[in-house]
Symmetry: D2
Subunit: 259 residues, 4 copies
């Protein structure tokens, strides 16, 4: 059969990224101090394509990813998957990204009851001119309580669910656990959120949030300071979006820094 993809192309366009998106697949993620966890991931993978070639070979992406569904992943070690993709596609550069919900058994603050809670995570690997970069992303739901509302009101203060999205990079011989990154992020909110709260717990989180008011600016700055001081992280992005309980829109703040 004719290999149309291998035809010569005359348009003089080196393609920066070509590949596949929205491919669902199971992955195995290594947990901190525990056994591994099977997650339901969505993969995006792409390579560069020189101007001489009409097309890439899409099925090879799926072949390589299929092999990797049985590995026990730390995150940063998706380098191996990316190298294999780049080799199989005979490419110069490439990227691979997995998005998935990661479950942690979370303990309520007073009654110490446990229930699973999910966090949207990302493992992303990039290889450009032989240089590897890994990005670990996590999205942490939290509570924020408005300092202005508390200050000016006789009683109460508006509060809401907010999301803190963090992406960090670190060297491939280092390891940041999802669990530890979530702990850092949660410590910067007015209060963490929990899947299971009995009345004593609800009293605790209500009072904790009230005693710890934070704007999205405050949450962002606290996370930024933590990550500036983090020994392993050498590059990060942070955003905080609060689904304001008094509006139908969000308050939002964003920062990206390289050390």
């Amino acid at each position: 059969m004719k290999d149309i993809q291998n035809l010569k192309d005359e348009r003089n366009v080196d393609i920066q990224k070509v590949g596949i998106k929205h491919l669902d697949m199971p992955l195995i993620v290594q947990r901190k101090n525990s056994t591994n966890q099977v997650v339901s991931a969505q993969a995006k993978v792409n390579v560069s394509l020189p101007k001489d070639y009409k097309g890439t070979h899409m099925s090879r992406f799926v072949e390589v990813l299929t092999e990797w569904q049985h590995k026990n992943l730390l995150g940063v070690d998706i380098k191996g998957c990316l190298e294999q993709i780049i080799k199989r596609l005979d490419a110069q550069n490439g990227e691979v990204e997995f998005k998935f919900k990661y479950f942690i058994d979370k303990e309520s603050p007073v009654t110490k009851l446990k229930a699973p809670m999910s966090f949207d995570c990302i493992f992303k690997g990039l290889m450009y001119d032989g240089i590897y970069k890994f990005v670990l992303g996590v999205e942490v739901p939290v509570t924020t309580l408005c300092p202005c509302s508390k200050e000016i009101s006789e009683n109460g203060a508006h509060n809401q669910r907010a999301f803190i999205r963090v992406r960090v990079s670190y060297d491939e011989d280092k390891q940041v656990w999802i669990e530890d990154l979530i702990d850092i992020v949660e410590s910067c909110a007015s209060c963490p959120v929990y899947p299971l709260l009995k009345r004593q717990d609800e009293k605790f989180v209500t009072e904790k949030a009230y005693s710890n008011p934070k704007f999205v600016e405050d949450v962002l700055r606290d996370v930024v300071v933590m990550l500036r001081n983090h020994e392993i992280v050498n590059e990060f992005e942070v955003e905080c979006e609060a689904f304001e309980s008094i509006h139908n829109h969000s308050a939002w703040a964003y920062q990206a820094e390289t050390k």
Copy 2:
């Protein structure tokens, strides 16, 4: 050209609903005490198809809808559009539904400053065996403040954005305005939400919500009582979903009643 759709079908299946979904189109909606408003609607329209026919004629749905984009609609008068669809498709039964964001200039409670706020609305018409039914739907974002959290905590109370979704039916010679239905629904929450709040307004809404705690059950019951007593509405559905600020899941309540 051969009309494949008109071929005879032998499978003995009278199709209940066949048509098109996710068709974007502009619509003109008549406002209460004001001029009309151009909205960006998404249409879904379908008819029944007797077992003898292989297929319906999809392009006719688009033709009829295209004619109706220039009418000034109250909602209940989409009956005309539905009748035309049923006639053009030579069908027994049919349904038409438009979803759109409807804007209202909303005034902040103390400073009286105005800004536009959108509400997700639905106009739905159904014709079965010649009997017409109209459904008006509106989704209203509000604030709910937890009565339990307030009661058991020394200070503050968790609160959050919630959505109250209402669908009402009424006779075709009557009219319920979107504006009035929103007013009913907002009056049942701990507090309405606003697009624009200055500090005096923020103090007002914080204190109002704190003095007016409501579970999703309370919100639901208050809306149900209002609609049971509504002179024009003869059938309704209500649901309230609160995006709990202390959890990453929602509290939810639902009721459907026919008078």
Copy 3:
């Protein structure tokens, strides 16, 4: 601490459904002829609440669901989970629903290469006045090729990805496997879709779809006939939505039948 939820309510509204939505949790699903599979589920669970009680006890839903995350489920056996919820909430009626992506290793039609492919599934249990009903749902992506386009065109025919969504009910002593339901549904399309196709496979699926043109009406009717003749299924819903490659909207057909 005061139990606000147990306060007496005077509004005379028996609430039909109250509970929680959008709770993520892992589940273990039993596979046909294989070991089990860990899936990432989203739960919705609700009960009825008599008019005398101000509120339900939301944390108990999470407690019961947390216990059930470690069971090996067939689907229909979520009856046990539902009974426990109804008992713990002291309710008359209740519903529980789990949505999840289920992975099947799918073999390409000619080269017989395997790769995982996901299907959106639902397990839903309802208990009203002591009568249990179970619903198994699956959403199957397929290819549809237009009979009209093929007939009237000199070459080619427009085709597209379509989704066939099926929900079936059966008695609690019976079992329909997700794998078998997917097989039934795929057999009614112009061609199944696959995660991994080499060139020989691509030739096969292109020619198969071209030789097997189907409107959404055809797909719907074929599935309806299969389910009418299914020995175990006693109630079903089917819909087919085709993301037309020549439009930016969908063609859609729907049927619900009880035997």
Copy 4:
């Protein structure tokens, strides 16, 4: 009342972006060779915040945007809105972005029947250190037909709906019309898509796509060549995502260039 936002902050973090997201508002967009069009937009707006200030003043964003809902916009002239935001917030840098569905009356290729079709558009303005940059974005649904499938199959070829997303920048004294950008993009696909097609039209688009096969790589390269040669555009991003009719995942290609 105390202005908490104006308190001094000690954390030494100059915030790069802080503002609001997901604010719905109507906008008026000037059409090419026609009257204006009212669109339903979603706004995102943010400014920089120096390290000395605890918070920004969120309500001022809404005040400025509310004033701009009545202007007749070309796109590039949102510079005025952005300047006002930066002034009112006393900021150094800022960004404003509006996303909206824009309707064009599209004529079927043979029968010349018209119906409205929507395109997701973006107007984005950025001001950093006094330098203004405008980005016009449009997402165009099209048909792509696979060259490989056509070549290797005896009959037919798989085809599908695809999206071509383009973002272009140009100087503020120039003007690129949404209508013209859509024309460029559509000319690079196997065939445009249409809201309304009668049988003669369906024959035309089926045969046109079959005679004009394109990979996502081909579509991308053709758009890149057109934009490299565009007299006004000085920077662009292009991506093409095809919802493969033979898979449940997408083929995807991406390019960004500055002239």
